[in-house]
């Protein structure tokens, strides 16, 4: 069963992330992903996350398919206009990619090329609509395509957003234009997530909760300050702060496992953003009872 089929079947989905390098040395990342073959249903490949220039998601997704791993191609609106976005979607299809996560993207000013011209010709909603249109065999201006792509389209949602209603309206909009699954930013507050899922599950579209293995208290604080939608509680920060250096990974996994246990009955899967700690993912799955 491929990812799309698993979504349909009701299986609890586990996805992981591959972050391309700033450069061309891709092999170690691919090797790390291969370690998770069979344990993880699909691999998200990020599109220059945080607006830091990286190797492209398209090429890494293709390399994953060649190794028998199923990618989820992340595509943002930050750098490409509507022509390039449509073209890259078609390119993805011919390179064997079937799962796409469409996002608006971070503003360039946050990354390492703050001088870059932001494009944002489309946004996540209009891009989803455009992708759906391509799947129907037409480009966004109504011209016939010579062969049409087929995708499993996904989008993101933020359970911790305030006001929540705004987020839910947008989520509904994304579903209306073709989103068939959602992945969230890292969850650290189960109560908040539960509140969100009570409303979101009404839409009937699978939601995968985001998970990050904390590496340190400093990391938690940094994310609280800088990453939208992430709020690590004091309790967890203290746990990380009190842990000895060699224990940190264990505590991080412990926290993540606790969160997964709290989430797995209320959502359709988890999306693990390993951030370089791919090697700990098998242990995490064990401890969470998902292996």
């Amino acid at each position: 069963m491929n990812f799309a089929e698993k979504l349909k079947s009701g299986k609890f989905i586990i996805t992981c992330e591959v972050g391309p390098p700033k450069g061309v040395n891709i092999n170690s990342r691919l090797a790390q992903a291969e370690l998770l073959k069979g344990k993880v249903d699909a691999f998200n490949v990020t599109d220059m996350q945080s607006s830091v220039m990286k190797l492209g998601s398209l090429s890494v997704c293709h390399l994953l398919t060649m190794r028998g791993l199923e990618p989820i191609f992340q595509l943002t609106c930050r750098d490409r206009n509507r022509l390039a976005l449509q073209s890259d979607l078609l390119s993805a299809y011919v390179l064997g990619i079937r799962n796409v996560l469409l996002l608006t993207g971070d503003h360039p000013i946050l990354g390492d090329h703050p001088q870059a011209k932001p494009v944002f010709d489309l946004d996540s909603v209009s891009l989803l609509k455009v992708a759906s249109t391509l799947m129907e065999g037409k480009d966004m201006n109504g011209n016939e395509l010579d062969g049409k792509p087929d995708f499993c389209l996904g989008a993101v949602v933020n359970p911790g957003a305030d006001p929540l209603e705004l987020q839910l309206v947008k989520m509904e909009k994304k579903i209306e234009v073709g989103a068939r699954f959602f992945q969230t930013q890292a969850v650290f507050d189960l109560e908040e997530f539960d509140k969100f899922m009570k409303k979101a599950s009404k839409f009937g579209v699978p939601v995968m909760g985001g998970i990050i293995i904390l590496k340190s208290a400093g990391m938690a604080r940094y994310m609280n300050e800088n990453i939208a939608g992430v709020s690590v509680s004091e309790k967890y920060i203290n746990m990380m702060a009190e842990a000895k250096k060699e224990e940190r990974a264990k505590v991080g996994i412990q926290i993540a496992a606790e969160l997964i246990k709290g989430m797995k009955d209320i959502c359709r899967g988890i999306h693990i953003m390993s951030l370089g700690w791919e090697r700990y993912v098998p242990e995490l799955l064990e401890v969470s009872g998902l292996a």
């Binding site: 608006t104 993207g105 503003h107 946004d123 996540s124 957003a161 939208a228």
Partner: protein, 673 residues
């Protein structure tokens, strides 16, 4: 939220190193600097120039000259200034201004190296949309000019300028605590949109998916509109305005006779110059057309009774032009309309000598009916030789149609009147200038069979204040009346159409000036029209006859202007009455924000763009507000024709006209000392 004038700036000096680089390449550089729009008024503002000198060190010696200019981007005025400068001794020109000024100078001095010494400062705050234009006032709101306005989908908050990514379909995931990921000082625009939709109890649904069309606005549209604007702005003369014409209500209304007043209030001063001396006293019986006031001196005019009856009082009333107390004869109508014996028809004016004609015109009290009320007999006997007579049929103020209807209904009288004036002046050429919003008048005059070949009807593209003498002379003859001078200084006499008609009446019908055509119009006017109104008819008679609404509502919400809406004079006292110069009586709803002497000028520069005399009205306001009378003469206030264009366009609604009048009074009294 307003951006304060101190914080806002369109440009700043380039980095020091770049300036030094430029100065390495030049030997003799002339500096042009812009005094900056939207800046707190600093007398002799030269901030950037001073900074420049500091940066240059010894290289400042390479500067051979420096001229600060107001609104460098006003290409018409700047071009005149700059081409008048001697730049032959410099090898290059340095410009301190925003990008507009620099590009303009570079093009103007094409061939000479022009260096930008300043950078424009980014204003839009939005690198995705790139540009975001603030309005005329310095509010925070900006508009990207996308030509596909989204404000109806976003509860009035622009997603293009306010959202850092210019998103159209809701927020991205980057907002934290309601702040934008780009800068925590900025609110997430989409959260603001959401919150406002809640306040409006509008369902926040994010309508159909929005995708921007970057092909709009099209090049063609922008070019067409720019061309249209340029044509209108530069038509005929520099400056001026195109106010809403509002003539539709009365332009086709035939002139009717307004009922005679039961009591007439006849002012003894209805002309430039000395007040007439009363010839009658209380109790005297007077007839229609009887002289009741004698001209006092050479610049003066007699006054005649417009009704027959008895003089019941000689008292002071508020004069409609000066708004100060002035002597008037109050006459009670006896209803008999008995004409005075002095009214005699003339058979053929050609039989009369020039002097005889002048005497008739003087004796019959004919004065300029365009509003200035200058004694016509004096105007027709100029001390210098004149070669051209211009008849002013422009009537450029909104609402007014009195001159228009005279041209349409009485072409014969008009041409006879012109012939009389032409004979007196001995001119070989006559022009009748008529604005093209009076098509029927132009046709009527053109088609009139018996006009002299020396009379030419000129159709002029409508623009206010084309009817101002100096503007009209420049427009038709391309002659410029010198500052402080008169039309006769360039060999021209200008007469108003209604004055021409009055000349006809005086010479041919023997009638003194006892009635005139008045356009009554405005908001809430139940009987708009053009009326023959007897001189001395109290305003209240006309207001009662022609306007809806109670007295109380009238005084609270409306005001009465004598003349047109732009240069007309507000009449506080309805017991005042029609005088020879009353071209119109317009009732207008009071604007909630009235021109004031208290508001600060924001240096937007629009007054400079619309002044037909090419003056800098903002300085009148600036010095006026500071109470520094006398400084405005440095800005040629004596050339101001008080047309009101500046006050009308002023984005800060400053009562520039009142400052100008104060200045002129001050200058007048200073000269007398």
């Amino acid at each position: 939220m307003k951006t304060s004038l101190t914080d806002y700036t369109k440009f700043r000096l380039q980095p020091d190193c770049e300036i030094k680089e430029i100065f390495k390449q030049v030997n003799r550089i002339f500096i042009l600097s812009c005094n900056k729009c939207y800046q707190r008024f600093i007398d002799e503002s030269e901030e950037e120039y001073t900074q420049l000198i500091e940066i240059l060190g010894v290289d400042y010696k390479k500067i051979v000259g420096h001229v600060p200019v107001d609104f460098l981007c006003n290409d018409f005025l700047s071009e005149k200034k700059i081409l008048g400068m001697d730049l032959s001794s410099c090898d290059s020109v340095g410009v301190i201004s925003c990008g507009l000024g620099i590009q303009f100078i570079a093009q103007l001095l094409d061939g000479k190296p022009v260096y930008a010494l300043a950078d424009s400062v980014p204003q839009s705050r939005n690198s995705t949309s790139g540009v975001g234009y603030h309005g005329i006032s310095l509010e925070e709101e900006k508009c990207a000019g996308c030509d596909q306005c989204y404000l109806n989908f976003t509860s009035g908050i622009c997603p293009i300028t306010e959202c850092a990514k210019s998103l159209l379909n809701g927020p991205c995931g980057g907002a934290r605590n309601g702040k934008c990921e780009v800068d925590p000082r900025l609110d997430c625009a989409w959260i603001k949109i959401y919150e406002r939709s809640k306040e409006r109890r509008e369902k926040f649904t994010l309508e159909a998916v929005q995708i921007r069309d970057y092909s709009k606005p099209s090049f063609k549209l922008k070019n067409d509109l720019s061309l249209l604007n340029q044509t209108r702005r530069y038509e005929g003369f520099y400056g001026g305005l195109h106010p809403l014409d509002k003539k539709g209500e009365t332009e086709d209304k035939r002139i009717e006779y307004f009922p005679e007043p039961e009591v007439a209030v006849i002012f003894l001063s209805q002309h430039t110059g000395k007040m007439a001396r009363p010839l009658v006293k209380v109790g005297d019986e007077v007839k229609v057309g009887q002289k009741i006031g004698e001209a006092d001196g050479s610049i003066s005019s007699p006054i005649h009774s417009s009704i027959s009856g008895k003089v019941v009082s000689v008292e002071e009333r508020i004069h409609p032009a000066s708004q100060r107390k002035a002597l008037a004869l109050i006459i009670e109508n006896n209803g008999k309309s008995e004409p005075a014996p002095s009214i005699e028809h003339c058979q053929d004016f050609e039989d009369l000598s020039r002097e005889a004609l002048l005497e008739i015109i003087r004796e019959k009290g004919v004065v300029g009916l365009g509003g200035a009320m200058f004694p016509t007999s004096v105007k027709l006997a100029p001390p210098k030789k004149v070669d051209t007579l211009i008849i002013n049929g422009c009537e450029c103020e909104p609402y007014l149609n009195c001159d228009n209807r005279i041209m349409v209904e009485h072409p014969e009288e008009v041409f006879v009147g012109i012939a009389i004036a032409q004979k007196i002046l001995g001119v070989g050429k006559v022009y009748i200038g008529v604005e093209d919003n009076k098509a029927e008048a132009i046709t009527t005059l053109n088609n009139y069979p018996d006009k002299s070949s020396s009379v030419e009807i000129v159709s002029l593209k409508t623009k206010y204040p084309q009817g101002a003498e100096k503007v009209l002379i420049k427009r038709i003859l391309a002659r410029e009346v010198p500052d402080g001078g008169l039309p006769l200084d360039v060999g021209v006499v200008v007469l108003n159409i209604a004055t021409i008609f009055a000349i006809y009446e005086a010479v041919i019908a023997g009638l003194p000036l006892i009635q005139r055509v008045v356009t009554v119009s405005g908001d809430n006017c139940s009987r708009p029209g053009n009326y023959w109104v007897k001189i001395g008819t109290p305003f209240k008679n006309i207001v009662e006859h022609c306007f809806n609404g109670s007295d109380e509502e009238f005084s609270r919400r409306y005001e009465l202007k004598m003349g047109g809406p732009i240069m007309g004079i507000v009449q506080a006292d309805l017991e005042s009455a029609i005088i020879k110069g009353s071209t119109g009586l317009i009732v207008m709803k009071k604007s909630p924000v009235r021109a004031s002497e208290e508001r600060e000028c924001i240096k937007c520069g629009r007054c400079v763009e619309v002044c037909p005399m090419q003056l800098y009205p903002l300085y009148y306001g600036f010095y006026g507000m500071k109470g520094e009378l006398g400084k405005a003469v440095n800005y040629r206030v004596e050339s101001c024709i008080e047309c009101g264009c500046c006050e009308n366009i002023c984005s800060a609604k400053i009562s520039l006209l009142s400052f100008i009048k104060k200045e002129k009074q001050y200058a007048c009294s200073a000269n007398k000392v």
